[in-house]
């Protein structure tokens, strides 16, 4: 794999993560720059994801680059049976960077093996979505002023939620304390608890989304509990409201607490939380633009100034 590609958040060192966050900060302060002049970026969305595609394309456009690509595989020769390898090789003739999303897991890793053009993974099935993790990290960094020694509570679908798994992998450098709040059906897989143990990360598991857990958290990361995940619908009906956040539950929370959610949400955050200053999920999505601008420049080998985060210029 060429080292300027990004397939998984685990491909990044602690130093690289810190540098990318400082560069994201730079883009937040200067979002429009002509530094991608003459560069062409392909956005290959074999699976539609309007939210992620628009964020990447805006990131390129605001930096003065051009975008080609497709938003749905049915409009390409993939639907005529062309292999992924052939599509990637064809596109590689035209562009400086490939941003791709695919419904098959491992598709981006494979793409990096068949081209010399850098590839950014914008989601491969249930596997990896590193730009989401970078925006999560940037949101945590911005709202807390640091990444070290935070207490982070993950709530909802911890079994299938790739965002929470990637967040654990990324936070392993920063001595976090995790709380895993989930029902038995959706609890954190052994594999990720093993990652925590190997990295000396403290964690506790909870079935109840309790006041005690909420009041001692710096970050609460909510995820969607999807009906499809349950073999037994009765079970779903029983648990679906146990992991819903209501505004009243935040009465005793820390001042610095922020609520994150990768969006779209269904009913896991009641709309009455939206006006609480601790609700951060809408700004979180906006941070994706700056995080992606930093990732794009990393892959293109463009050197970007780093902007230190001072507490006074937070939020």
């Amino acid at each position: 794999m060429n080292s300027s590609s990004l397939v998984s958040i685990s491909d990044l060192s602690k130093e690289e993560i810190m540098r990318l966050l400082a560069q994201a900060r730079h883009f937040e302060l200067n979002p429009n720059q002509k530094i991608l002049d003459g560069k062409v970026v392909a956005t290959l969305f074999f699976e539609p994801s309007t939210r992620t595609r628009l964020s990447f394309e805006t990131a390129v456009n605001r930096l003065g680059g051009r975008v080609i690509g497709f938003s749905d595989a049915s409009s390409t020769s993939t639907s005529k049976g062309e292999t992924l390898k052939d599509t990637i090789k064809m596109v590689s003739n035209y562009v400086d960077l490939i941003v791709m999303r695919h419904f098959l897991e491992g598709a981006s890793r494979y793409a990096t093996e068949v081209t010399d053009v850098p590839v950014i993974n914008a989601g491969d099935g249930a596997n990896q979505h590193p730009s989401q993790t970078m925006l999560d990290l940037y949101s945590i960094y911005k709202t807390q002023g640091r990444l070290d020694n935070l207490t982070i509570t993950l709530v909802g679908d911890l079994k299938y939620g790739r965002t929470v798994h990637s967040l654990i992998m990324a936070m392993r450098y920063f001595n976090p304390t995790f709380r895993f709040v989930a029902c038995d059906e959706l609890k954190m897989p052994e594999e990720y608890k093993e990652v925590c143990r190997q990295n000396g990360i403290k964690y506790t598991e909870h079935k109840e989304f309790s006041k005690e857990v909420i009041d001692t958290s710096d970050i609460i990361y909510m995820t969607r509990v999807q009906r499809e995940r349950f073999a037994d619908l009765m079970e779903y009906e029983k648990v679906k409201d146990l992991y819903t956040l209501h505004n009243a539950m935040l009465d005793g929370a820390r001042d610095n607490l922020r609520i994150l959610h990768p969006l779209p949400r269904v009913n896991e955050i009641n709309p009455d939380v939206d006006d609480n200053p601790k609700a951060y999920y809408f700004q979180q999505a906006q941070n994706g633009l700056y995080a992606r601008q930093a990732l794009i420049c990393r892959s293109l080998g463009i050197d970007i100034p780093q902007e230190p985060l001072s507490i006074s210029n937070q939020k």
């Binding site: 992924l84 897991e105 598709a107």
Partner: protein, 151 residues
């Protein structure tokens, strides 16, 4: 010398593969490609093993197997021991060795893995040698080598 050992030693030239898990025996036979071989062949299963309780064993006369074939055996029978016999003597006795990366041998059991949809070779990292756990280089799924489907 006990009668059991005598049966093994009776081979003049050939290969004895010992300590095969009983459930992997017939797949090993398939991997070795010895079903249609016209050489003297002895296959035993559920024999007593001091190490593992029960084991399978394959003895083939006048046949020696290339490394690539033994690599495949190591996936489903990681404890297997290969004895090379020449002129009634065991001239070499060694355990098969599970390589660090397993390329093009095991199928990924994740139906959504790219390797099951593209004409490409699979690739796994061996993450736990004792438990026989492999991790797909592409989709990150963990596959148990003992239950793996071989390509």
């Amino acid at each position: 010398m006990s009668k059991q050992e005598l049966a093994v030693a009776a081979l003049r030239n050939g290969t004895v593969i010992d300590h095969i898990p009983p459930q992997a025996l017939f797949q090993c036979v398939k991997i070795l490609g010895i079903e249609l071989l016209d050489k003297q062949l002895t296959i035993g299963n559920n024999l007593h093993s001091s190490k593992h309780g029960a084991k399978g064993i394959i003895k083939v006369a006048d046949t020696f197997f290339p490394e690539a074939v033994l690599d495949r055996i190591s996936i489903i029978a990681p404890d297997a021991v290969v004895n090379t016999i020449r002129d009634y003597e065991v001239v070499e006795k060694r355990r098969v060795e599970l390589p660090d990366t397993v390329v093009g041998i095991v199928k990924c059991d994740n139906p959504k893995c790219i390797t099951n949809h593209e004409p490409m070779r699979t690739k796994f990292a061996v993450i736990d040698r004792n438990a026989g756990l492999l991790r797909c280089h592409y989709c990150n799924h963990t596959v148990s080598s003992l239950k793996a489907t071989l390509l």
